[in-house]
């Protein structure tokens, strides 16, 4: 008994991150533990180190050839690592690393060169960079069916590293670009095609050599076929269940008959279809090549799980929960809603999933009434199966009807979870939007239930068959369902308000809070014109402008200042090293000029962190993420910001609610030869002309935004565009000017 308890305690310690996550109140994944060294070392230092190593192994000639590659590699990888999308020491990265341990148990010398990180992306993908870093998207984990499938994909990625494929691709690209004999007509297109062909060869090589690594491990051979199925269906949801439309109509009473498409569109994917300009061969070809080799070496009965089956499912659940968050962030509302629905089948009555569905409906309603639904509609490549039906319904129903659906959803969520501030905001906002957009309709809402609809009937829809493709991959078990009755067969034409739509909120009139808010709004005459003018004033796109509110600012925390230097005269326009130096200088100058103005300044930037600064690193990621969503919410017709982070905690921690985002883009262009020549020709202005012809043109763009994270308001915003160099005098002048405005509130 005691041994069991000890074992249980050990297990609990091992899976601490998994158990610490309460799925009812799911929190987006965060990095944990110590920040790995490679996140903190400057890109230029890595580049210098790589250069020394390259000279040792390949000499000066090797360096000359590969210098551009190792330079770009250091900076691009570091950009990715510090982007906030890459997770470390989190449950998913940890699990992937453990699977890699099993996979490479017999090749420890390879294993120790590799690091595995999860990437917060819903896309089904994994990729390797030359430095031994393997990125595995959360979306991939969400789609996999077994640990062995993950191991097969990791084996493929490991082979990319061992084969130094990205370096080879770079060299090949250079060779193709320089070759003037093979490519004459349509040069650019032919060259691109040649590069794609090389990439496809590498992918096949990685499949076959990766298979050898995989076969050496103890994982099941049967899992491989399923891995290719995952790849074929990577554009679609991880499962295919009929959607429960009552989730988005009035809860409990589906009074709003929805119009489903007359023809279902099952998922039909041609696995042999190959994109000429794609980087990967067709899945069919890859599957065939792997199966041919496997045929002779197949050993049945090997396990699908070597680490732990339960842990795989737990990690997969985490990944699935995480992608609902990521899809919502990417404004993929339909996919988020369906994904949440699928999860709710396994996790019924989960408040987090209910919130995601509500948030999705809120987002769709906002875009729909702004007649911008097309901006959030799923990509056409995904419009099959249930997603097609859902999109069809939301696209074809009138904006008023979708708004009523969103309103019902938001208010019922608010009623159920009154302490959720975001739920309240969504509910209030949709009601306000209804009065703003359709004031007449809003005032006519009826409190009594509508006349009963005919009994709902389920009908089997006709299925469109596509026989044009030679070999298709069909998903079975897809059966769309019609929620409403025969009446819904007569499709509501777009823009036409349904007969019973005025009764659409009758249940909400039982809610006192709704009645009170409705009453308040019904009395107000909205001055829509005035509001639009105000919005325009704030966001007028003058090249040099600034805005300041009356808040008193004593301290600002800047998140990841950016500095990019481009020289369009050079082949590789991005000046990586100069950009890094420029960023360091700009941060020093920011501190100096803030100090001169009496503004206390703190900068959250990866280069300023130590290994133990995890909390600050996560705060940086969270605020970066918050700012992205803030801009989205601001752009999207004043939507409520969804998934607002705990800004109160952050502002308390840093002693300020004012956080800033600033960036600088510096450009060097060729001299203005034409103007210079004209000046020279004129005679007495010849000296000016000569200077113009010799001196490269400089320009820069600088932005600086300070937000009050608690209220979400802009406190200070400036955008400057100058035909000037980014020398210290100009930067000091600009930064001082910015901070003087930050310090002094507008009167």
């Amino acid at each position: 008994m005691r041994k069991e308890l000890v074992l249980l305690a050990l297990m609990a310690c091992l899976f601490r991150p998994l158990f610490s996550q309460n799925l009812n109140n799911y929190q987006p994944l965060k990095s944990e533990g110590q920040i790995p060294e490679e996140f903190l070392v400057k890109s230029s230092e890595k580049y210098e180190q790589d250069k020394i190593e390259l000279v040792k192994t390949e000499g000066r000639s090797g360096l000359k050839k590969k210098d551009d590659f190792i330079l770009a590699r250091s900076f691009v990888i570091d950009d990715m690592l510090t982007s906030g999308k890459v997770l470390f020491n989190d449950p998913i990265s940890e699990y992937v690393s453990r699977v890699a341990d099993k996979l490479l148990a017999k090749q420890p010398q390879i294993r120790e060169k590799l690091r595995f990180y999860a990437v917060k992306s819903p896309v089904v993908n994994a990729y390797t960079v030359d430095k031994g870093i393997v990125f595995v998207n959360v979306g991939l984990l969400a789609h996999l069916e077994s640990e062995a499938q993950l191991a097969f994909i990791l084996a493929h990625e490991v082979q990319h590293f061992l084969g130094q494929h990205s370096m080879k691709q770079f060299e090949q690209n250079l060779t193709i670009d320089k070759d003037k004999t093979l490519f004459s007509k349509d040069e650019a297109q032919e060259k691109y095609l040649a590069k794609c062909l090389f990439s496809k060869e590498q992918e096949l090589e990685a499949d076959l050599a990766g298979l050898e690594i995989y076969l050496e491990s103890g994982y099941s051979h049967e899992a491989i076929d399923g891995t290719f199925d995952v790849l074929v269906l990577s554009d679609f949801p991880y499962s295919h269940q009929p959607f429960d439309y009552t989730l988005i109509t009035s809860p409990g009473t589906p009074i709003l008959g929805l119009t489903l498409p007359p023809h279902a569109k099952p998922i039909v994917v041609d696995q042999d279809e190959e994109h000429e300009f794609g980087t990967h061969p067709s899945v069919g070809k890859r599957r065939q090549a792997v199966m041919d080799v496997l045929e002779t070496k197949r050993q049945p009965g090997r396990p699908f799980f070597l680490v732990d089956e339960n842990e795989f499912y737990r990690v997969r659940d985490l990944a699935r929960f995480e992608i609902t968050h990521l899809l919502l962030k990417d404004k993929e509302y339909v996919l988020c809603m369906y994904n949440s629905f699928l999860l709710s089948l396994d996790f019924p009555n989960n408040p987090y999933l209910e919130k995601k569905i509500t948030q999705s409906m809120y987002g769709i309603s906002c875009f729909k009434i702004a007649h911008k639904y097309h901006k959030v509609a799923p990509d056409s490549s995904r419009l099959y199966g249930v997603i097609y039906d859902l999109d069809y319904v939301l696209d074809n129903e009138s904006p008023e009807k979708v708004l009523i659906m969103g309103l019902n959803k938001a208010w019922s969520y608010h009623q159920k979870y009154p302490n959720d501030e975001e739920g309240r905001q969504m509910a209030y906002d949709l009601l306000e939007k209804m009065f703003d957009t359709y004031p007449e309709f809003a005032k006519k809402l009826k409190k009594d239930p509508p006349p009963p609809l005919p009994v709902a009937m389920e009908e089997e829809p006709e299925v469109e068959k596509d026989n044009s493709k030679s070999k298709v991959f069909e998903v079975e078990g897809y059966k769309p369902t019609i929620v409403s009755g025969k009446e819904s067969k007569a499709r509501a034409s777009q823009g036409k308000v349904d007969k019973n739509l005025e009764h659409g909120c009758f249940q909400l009139f039982e809610n006192e809070e709704f009645v009170q808010k409705y009453g308040e709004l019904a009395k107000i005459e909205v001055n829509k014109e005035g509001e639009e003018q105000e919005e325009f004033k704030v966001w007028s796109s003058r090249s040099n402008s600034w805005k300041r509110t009356s808040d008193i600012v004593d301290k600002v925390v800047y998140i990841k200042p950016e500095f990019h230097k481009w020289d369009t005269r050079k082949k590789n326009a991005t000046r990586y090293l100069d950009s890094e130096k420029g960023n360091d200088k700009m941060m020093a100058w920011m501190k100096e000029n803030a100090g001169l103005n009496g503004v206390s300044l703190e900068i959250l930037n990866a280069s300023e962190f130590k290994n133990s600064d995890l909390e600050a690193f996560n705060d940086m990621v969270e605020l970066e993420d918050w700012s992205e969503r803030w801009f989205q919410a601001r752009k999207n017709d004043g939507m409520v910001m969804l998934d607002r982070p705990d800004v109160e905690r952050i502002s308390e921690k840093y002693g300020t609610k004012f956080f800033g985002w600033t960036g600088h883009l510096s450009l060097t262009k060729s001299p203005n030869y034409l103007m210079g020549a004209m000046y020279v020709c004129y005679g007495c202005t010849a000296p000016i002309g000569i200077v113009m012809m010799l001196r490269p043109r400089k320009a820069f763009l600088h932005y600086n935004v300070v937000l009050n994270v608690e209220s979400g308001e802009i406190v200070f915003a400036s955008v400057h565009e100058f035909d000037l160099s980014d020398g210290p005098e100009n930067m000091h002048s600009l930064l001082y000017d910015n901070f003087i405005h930050i310090k002094n509130p507008a009167k």
Partner: protein
């Protein structure tokens, strides 16, 4: 009188600066600049038979610049000028000193005092020409100059560029066109210039190239 005018102009400048809006950034908060400038220029005279230089102007200027707003700078100057007057057969030298004031505007770009500026203002010139200054000249014949003191005034229009080259050092350069407007009798001496000489100051423009080094004082 000269001192009074100079003090008046200085006070005007400081007063204007005092009432300027508090959000004037200057350069890192420095809104007062003392500049030492050197002007060199000439006036071309278009005669009936030939065109030639008639005046070569060489001028040292001490200027105080007060940044009044993001786009406006008050310029108070004191000139020490030395002019060589070329005539048909000989050359005379004249010495002049005088206060002036004007404004510079920085129409676009970063806040003053950086970047391209346009300037305009007025200067009082107290011209002093005497033998001691004419020792080196070959003044003879009918154009021989005598000691003379007279007043003149100019308006000037300029275009320039100001840059910060070190922590508190500004460098500016540009072109300045001086246009005489009227002459006044001076308090320094008799009003008896040769007509021809006076007219040279009176009716001809001076186009100067200027360079200057300044200190961002406070």
């Amino acid at each position: 009188m000269k001192i009074r005018i100079a003090i008046l102009v200085l006070l005007m400048g400081l007063g204007l600066q005092g009432i300027a809006q508090h959000l004037v950034p200057g350069y890192q908060g420095k809104r007062n600049i003392f500049v030492a400038q050197y002007f060199a220029g000439s006036n071309f005279e278009y005669g009936a038979y030939s065109s030639r230089v008639s005046i070569i102007d060489s001028r040292f200027t001490l200027a105080y610049e007060a940044i009044l707003s993001r786009r406006l700078v008050l310029d108070v100057t004191y000139d020490l000028a030395r002019a060589n007057l070329y005539r048909y057969l000989d050359r005379d030298k004249m010495f002049c000193h005088g206060p002036g004031f004007g404004f510079k505007t920085y129409p676009r770009g970063l806040p003053a005092p950086l970047g391209v500026n346009l300037s305009a203002g007025a200067k009082l010139l107290f011209v002093h020409s005497n033998d001691s200054l004419n020792l080196g000249s070959s003044s003879s014949g009918i154009w021989k100059t005598d000691t003379s003191n007279f007043g003149n005034s100019q308006i000037y229009l300029g275009i320039g560029y100001t840059n910060v080259i070190a922590k508190r050092i500004v460098f500016d350069y540009g072109l300045e066109l001086s246009l005489p407007i009227w002459g006044v009798k001076t308090i320094l001496g008799k009003y008896d210039p040769y007509e021809n000489q006076r007219l040279r100051w009176f009716y001809h423009y001076l186009l100067n190239v200027k360079i200057g080094i300044g200190i961002l004082a406070f």
